[in-house]
């Protein structure tokens, strides 16, 4: 495969509030290719949003990217490490919202209630492009049309609270695309929406990706959305990427005990009515009480006493594009007895 456009290596982002340390992202590595979708999936608090915010370098205080590389291949072929850029550098501002567009989990909090959606779009366009107001407005209308908003010439002057949840999410996507990014990060873009509206938004993302050869990072807790959208998948648990692989491998030949258990426990429209679901014992530990060793060990059915609770499992390559972080697999990638 061609060079990745974005390559994250050993990313660690910690919060150090007074109460202790939260290893929100604790060694995440993955690659993203043009025209492809990387799905990041995991349960709440596993570090999906902090991973996205780390890539954009907008982690809230007292959080900080502590180590690792975030390598972005720019249009001219140069590779920059976003993790090393000065927080106030012009280059970082160029990348954020310019080369890397993003759609956040909370559409209401990311859209201003005081400015029309047109003004917000025009501002985003003019931040990264030297164009006249009139041209920016024309381009804003064009963007609204592209994301499927009916009567964009009129909607451009409306406020976000006048729009339905689905239309608001379309505006968010238009905003993210304003500067023609090559990478789009979408953090739970459909979580608050009805299935019907979700289907529309996922279709929209797919269409725009095809038209622009966009590289997409799609963050969700919904395995159905991942199956529908992703080319490759990173599964996270308590800050760790525990398994990465092609979407078909993750769903049909998962190797990490957490991925396996998660897939067994999801309800499906294909299930037999009134059938019991497989469960994962216990619940996700509190972020301050991360278990030692493999963080999944208190819930793991394959737990090896004295090993899994003693040290952190290494990452093992099972195939060129399939990696797992678990003691069950030896250096050669074979499963221990």
């Amino acid at each position: 495969m061609a060079e990745p456009i974005l390559s994250v290596r050993g990313l660690e982002t910690f919060f150090r509030p007074d109460e202790g340390i939260v290893r929100a992202v604790d060694g995440a590595s993955f690659d993203l290719h043009p025209g492809q979708t990387l799905g990041i999936v995991g349960e709440s608090g596993c570090g999906k949003s902090v991973t996205a915010r780390s890539i954009l370098r907008i982690v809230d205080r007292p959080g900080r990217v502590e180590s690792g590389e975030i390598l972005l291949r720019r249009a001219d072929g140069q590779v920059v490490d976003i993790a090393k850029l000065d927080a106030k550098s012009a280059l970082l501002r160029d990348i954020r919202g310019g080369e890397v567009g993003y759609v956040f989990q909370e559409p209401m909090s990311s859209l201003s209630a005081y400015h029309t959606i047109g003004n917000q779009l025009m501002e985003a366009i003019r931040l990264h492009r030297d164009v006249s107001k009139a041209d920016a407005r024309a381009r804003a209308i064009e963007l609204l049309r592209m994301v499927g908003i009916p009567r964009p010439e009129q909607r451009v002057d409306s406020y976000s609270f006048e729009l339905s949840g689905g239309l608001r999410q379309r505006v968010m996507i238009a905003l993210a695309l304003a500067a023609e990014p090559r990478v789009l990060i979408a953090d739970e873009p459909t979580t608050a929406l009805d299935v019907t509206t979700q289907a529309q938004i996922l279709d929209l993302i797919r269409r725009i990706q095809r038209e622009r050869n966009l590289a997409v990072i799609l963050i969700t807790h919904d395995m159905g959305v991942i199956a529908e959208m992703a080319d490759t998948v990173a599964v996270m648990y308590l800050g760790k990427v525990v398994e990465t692989g092609p979407v078909d491998t993750i769903f049909h030949a998962p190797r990490h005990p957490y991925t396996q258990a998660l897939l067994r426990s999801i309800p499906s429209v294909l299930a037999t009515p009134l059938s019991r679901l497989a469960t994962i014992a216990g619940s996700i530990p509190h972020p301050y009480a991360r278990p030692p060793g493999c963080p999944f060990h208190p819930r793991c059915e394959s737990f090896i006493a004295g090993t899994c609770d003693a040290g952190a499992p290494p990452v093992t390559g099972l195939a060129a594009d399939h990696e797992v972080r678990c003691f069950l697999y030896d250096d050669a990638g074979t499963r221990r007895a």
Binding site: L167, D194, D248, P273, L274, L277
Partner: protein, 339 residues
Amino acid sequence: MSAQPPVLAVENLKKHFPIRRGVLRRIVGHVKAVDDVSFAIARGETLSLVGESGCGKTTTSRCILRAVTPTSGAIRFRSGEGRDVDVAALPRSELRPVRRQMQMIFQDPYSSLNPRMTIADIIGEPLLVNGIGNLAERRQRVAELLDVVQLPRAYLNRFPHAFSGGQRQRIGIARALALNPQLIVADEPVSALDVSVQAQIINLLLELQERLGLSYLFVAHDLSVVKHVSHRVAVMYVGRIVEVAPTATFFRNPRHPYTEALLSAVPVPDPRRRAQRIVLEGEVADPSNPPPGCAFHPRCRYADERCERVTPTLQPAAGGSLVACHRAAELNLVGVAAA
């Protein structure tokens, strides 16, 4: 179903909220949140209510519990002692004994528990309020309820903030069970939970139903969850039920075009089954100004001229379904089926 009378029979239920404008707060229109809804739930049965946001699911459940007073219609409830009452017509003063037997489980386990009360007090509150037992008996009952929802008795004197979402939902379920209800109305009870915890709560609800013969009205938007918990499913669109069917039939042989579109939009957790979906154009109709005829017609790919004029009513169809669509008999709609 058996010949036993249903636990709950909702008949022609309507709830219209007035829309007021201006300084004089004059009524300028009505939101027809629930508009002529009828269904019944048998003992030990789960009926799920599904549909897009704003279709009237929560308002229907609030009417049943008389958290809001219906505009019209009857809500016949058969108590454990075999007495029938119309909840919609009861004076407020006579609601308490009925409310004991219908309990609610909420979506948000975080906000529905009082942070300053211990687990023992939260679960025991309905007993205390209804003057049931002395202190020792109530303590004993609370401890048993913790066993039922599979929480350790050691948690009795802790406060809700110390618990995870799934544990809080178990506490909410224990409280709902305190008075031995006949019917549980659960409004999105698992949608705020993580997948791995969601599965535990779904199993618990199934188990409690088997053990205690509970009836559930299960309000949900996640059709995958609905497939696991329901005996029958009812779909609402803009305040009306457009289809009711036994669960297997509902998913395999949908009879209403809206059901077909809903099913086709559900993401299936299998990348080998990426399908061409029916994308519903447009938005849900405004319940204060629904389209004439069939309210779904502006979004329906099968609509004809009659659909714009005549409102279809629920009619029996093959497989035990009831469906409100003029073209139900001639259409061959696509559901979901295992590969």
